[in-house]
Symmetry: C2
Subunit: 756 residues, 2 copies
Amino acid sequence: MLRQPLLIRNRTLSTNSLAIVGAKVSHIESLDYEINENDLFKQDWRSRSKVEVLQYVFLKWLLAFLVGLLTGLIATLINLAVENIAGYKLLAVVKYIEQKRYITGFIYMAGANFFLTLVAAVLCVCFAPTAAGPGIPEIKAYLNGVDTPNMFGATTLIVKIVGSIGAVSAGLDLGKEGPLVHIGSCIASLLGQGGPDNYRIRWRWLRYFNNDRDRRDLITCGSSSGVCAAFRSPVGGVLFSLEEVATWWRSALLWRTFFSTAVVVVVLRAFMEYCKSGNCGLFGKGGLIMFDVSGVSVRYHVVDIFPIVAIGVIGGILGSLYNYLLHKVLKVYNVINEKGKLHKLLLSLSVSIFTSICMYGLPFLAECRPCDPSLQDVSCPTTGRAGNFKQFNCPKGYYNDLATLLLTTNDDAVRNIFSLNTSKEFCIFSLIIFFALYCVLGLVTFGIAVPSGLFLPIILMGSAYGRLLGIAMGPYTNIDQGLYAVLGAASLMAGSMRMTVSLCVIFLELTNNLLLLPITMLVLLIAKTVGDCFNPSIYDIILELKGLPFLDAHPEPWMRNITVGELADVKPAVVTLSGIEKVARIVEVLKNTTHNGFPVVDVVVPPMGSPNGATELHGLVLRAHLILVLKKKWFLRERRRTEEWEVREKFTSIDLAERGVKIEEVTVTKDEMEMYVDLHPLTNTTPYTVVESISVAKAMVLFRQVGLRHMIILPKYQAAGVYPVVGILTRQDLRAHNILSAFPQLAKFKGSKKGQ
Amino acid sequence: MLRQPLLIRNRTLSTNSLAIVGAKVSHIESLDYEINENDLFKQDWRSRSKVEVLQYVFLKWLLAFLVGLLTGLIATLINLAVENIAGYKLLAVVKYIEQKRYITGFIYMAGANFFLTLVAAVLCVCFAPTAAGPGIPEIKAYLNGVDTPNMFGATTLIVKIVGSIGAVSAGLDLGKEGPLVHIGSCIASLLGQGGPDNYRIRWRWLRYFNNDRDRRDLITCGSSSGVCAAFRSPVGGVLFSLEEVATWWRSALLWRTFFSTAVVVVVLRAFMEYCKSGNCGLFGKGGLIMFDVSGVSVRYHVVDIFPIVAIGVIGGILGSLYNYLLHKVLKVYNVINEKGKLHKLLLSLSVSIFTSICMYGLPFLAECRPCDPSLQDVSCPTTGRAGNFKQFNCPKGYYNDLATLLLTTNDDAVRNIFSLNTSKEFCIFSLIIFFALYCVLGLVTFGIAVPSGLFLPIILMGSAYGRLLGIAMGPYTNIDQGLYAVLGAASLMAGSMRMTVSLCVIFLELTNNLLLLPITMLVLLIAKTVGDCFNPSIYDIILELKGLPFLDAHPEPWMRNITVGELADVKPAVVTLSGIEKVARIVEVLKNTTHNGFPVVDVVVPPMGSPNGATELHGLVLRAHLILVLKKKWFLRERRRTEEWEVREKFTSIDLAERGVKIEEVTVTKDEMEMYVDLHPLTNTTPYTVVESISVAKAMVLFRQVGLRHMIILPKYQAAGVYPVVGILTRQDLRAHNILSAFPQLAKFKGSKKGQ
């Protein structure tokens, strides 16, 4: 049986499910990571002088240095601001409590929190909606090739910094860790483009970074620096980017990223050294170290394997449960937030008030516990800000263990619950309240319109049940309760975020103790495995919720059963241009479509007397370059090809890198409409192509591995009458969800992805 | 100007430079990392039941566990054997020296070393030549897609283990670190295939791992486990694989590799715990920890930046110098080694004798130094095996500092030179002799026919100049001399091996002190940068020397100026098969070519009265599958296509995974020669293709990123008379060196690779 040629295609020109899904998120643009090899590019710097290459290399490292430096400085600033604002707030509250003026104390605290939340929320709502949330999912999408608008601007950066200070100082259940990652990425992006959009430095050297590829590398550096700044964990930062954030990676980038994080660490260390002498107001001596057990000799034996496995399993179950519930809550929040700015604000403020009430009110439920006589007068009870035994409403010599955990900053709460050799400090009742409270707060706080990180809420939740388990295991284990808390936090993070190596290294660098490594590993692996049985990681869930077309690393197995030709058949016909095209046609095409790339097809002089009008694919031209042609009025009166010098006179590679001009902004006169444009010099002559018979699975591997934006489909059957382009595939076409909605019959093959 | 069609190709059928270079290394096969999507594959387990997927996942993790367990156990065994053999040898020598019987002592030591080297060398020379050297370059090549024969067999494994024990115990200047990486990989490979080649376990589940992709993943796990076992550094092991060894990487693999290294660490820890009670003979309490400074508080200030930068620069210069000289030495050694087995043996034995003479003789040059009174009777002088102050030929109360470094195992030497708070122990003269000696030994030892690692020689060399610099900086610095030695070792490793993140983490885990991290980072970055100015890393040099066709991550810039069509033009014409092919033709093709893949071209019923005989590309069939067809005599009497059930009856996916059958082993009768084979069900219908106009740079990115073995070139011009395949590219065709020898004019664009 010989196959029938695929000449007659059943094209559905109307919009269909594939196109509709794509349309819904059309404001999100894909990025051009592929090198656009057109004639102009070939005279670009990359193929030019050694001096320019050295400039590029020097600048690359300088930018990596600056990213690290600025991220470190801003992290310092945020830490200073938070510790001081929250510190003075708590000091005042403690003073009111000492005077038994409980109501005044509450009003003061709730008011301050309300005001701080208001500042953060107003900034986010009015000036930079993209600054809300952690920003990590969007960065992950960016590095996968999806550009969310206004994600890395100067406004976003400033709002993120100020908003983060406000939100964290307001005592909300959120961390500065996620926002720091976003801040690092913003800094990297802004440095790469020479400043904010409207006030860019037009330094000639910076032109090297005016492309998506180098920007991607910079943002990877930025996100690593952010994680490093958040946890003071240079290797962990690099690994976090590698494991969770980045889609493409290479050794050279590993090295540069590492350099950035090394700079961050040096900055943070210098700052801590400086603050040791008390120059930083209330910034405590604990500083950035959450939990230092380097001095402790950890001992554990074979019997300890059982509680460790238990923590891992519980972490996996709770983590996936948290993901599930947070998904539901975020869906509800989305409905509220879409109603308008006022609704967003009110939601944030109600969460703030609820948090204040719980933080202030719940400690009254706890009993006053007597201080250990050996500690008395030294560290128990404390009435100041930091400290492990808060007096709160108790008489002298007594402390309130719940107040120790609640009436403090989140960082101090972590430090307190992680503290070692304090096995009798917290009673079970207080820990249960603490855990329950943070479960509720962790769910309701994340979706509000302020910059918020997920790390800290999860650490707090996890440490609570870890410590509870530690108390329960008390007589049967050698491991300190503080370590149980650490392991609990690690397990919940792995259960929710599904990272392993990077989390392990972050915890290693946080705890500064290598002996913890094997048990941390075990807990993380178990928690991730258990979590993966139920649902995807929290970041994947948020990506899905935001509708970002993230391309997974592995094709689904059923994608082997469909070819790209079949996919192209259900798409609208591909819009192609001729090598030498009429201006009117170009304008028409640009106005009537939203495509970003158009295949260029040439008519070829037929050989050996075969029928006339044979065509061949010349390449792919980008929308941005077409608009540039129209804007520069680079028209020809007759249908001819241009010489190379003509092109060189008209365009520079700097022009080509320009973006964001819209077709509506270009005016073309009626006379000009009749003229021609030679697209050959602008055409990327070597686009990646696939034959229509290739399976979608393989096409997707190619698309993602090479980092494409457009993939041209060639016909399989070779004959004179066949049009040389069957279709064009973009990111949206390759998403499993979109393919399934066009080919529902494929769904029956679903459900065995794990084997890949 | 419309382009002329490329119909008439100027084919050079004779062998040319491209083919010749390829031929030289023709015994090295590429690997099939691409999924072979033929009809049979589609009924393979991957698209089948959930149970089978679960079996696969379970086995994947079980194998990762076993790889870790066995690597850990074998590392333990090697450590035990080395410490005991070398220990008893040294004890006896010390006894002779105590009795002033210096000549007898020397004869004893040289004799023992000679015998141990002999064992190692004879094993390597006669049974497994691939076991000589570190094996890391070959593993790196394997993971890049190049299969070196006999690299991962059972014989290689055993010879590597025994040879490594022998060579290290013989006191040669080499380490067990590199061999451990190879051992880990061998274990992984053997486990994956179910045992040694001749005694495989035919467990059904193992069929899942009978393909190059899963084997690649296993070997990645194995190499990580090896590094982890060598340095007791789980995160470092994973990062080493990631940064230096692996070509393809994904998050899922990160996780599994991490699991393996975690198992290794647990095994090593259990073993050390067991040996603490003295059950392991002379295996000392130092055990596997080379250098533990976790208890020391490291302090450094801004002024210390200068010596640190100096160490980095010196490390970079010395490292690249070492690479340069080692390259020369290896070239000379290659000439000697190629002369025959006896030459190989003699070379190894002369190095052994030379080493013995130096180790024993040089300490006599050093002066006896008085022990510090505070240490006397406690640890100075020591006469046993381990210990920091060797008495050697000195009177009571005195010690010989050079003997401390030389008359000991390499591990102990590292521990001694790294030792802290011993600023007066070593005099400059001794350190200079030590440094010079190890420079010479490091160069002459590496190329001999025993299993040898590069890590330890470099650490020894580096620590010597580090400590020298520490003495020179004495009054101006706060850093201990032991730390200088550590930094020196790190800098030389970075200068020679050009790794950064993984080395940093390995040193972090070796030294167990996070405060060292920023300065280690700085040293490593500087050393690598300086080294990169001069030559490639030592592994790249060895890869080049061995003629392994390693594909770099980045295409050279001049590759943008040549298309794959031009490349195909200088290659012999591509050999294609028809969809339904005569047996005689298949036999002829298989006998007369060495190609491993053949494009399958179908004749298509022409549409709309165009000239008859149009063809289209059906896909690619592998040599292994063709041989299988001949072996199974799956012939048809008439020219027809087969039904699906016929195919399923004949073949299973287990058959398809079979390898290594040669065409010469298959006999086909004369009658059968006239029959037909339907290649359609065996053909990979979705091979990756490129159009002939694509640049080599882009083709190479595709080739490497997707992990191809064959890349089919399609014609650009679409017409009925055009043959649907222009050529086929393999790894050899895309190597820069081969392209340049066919297109010497491209060389002028060379020399600006760094900008990429």
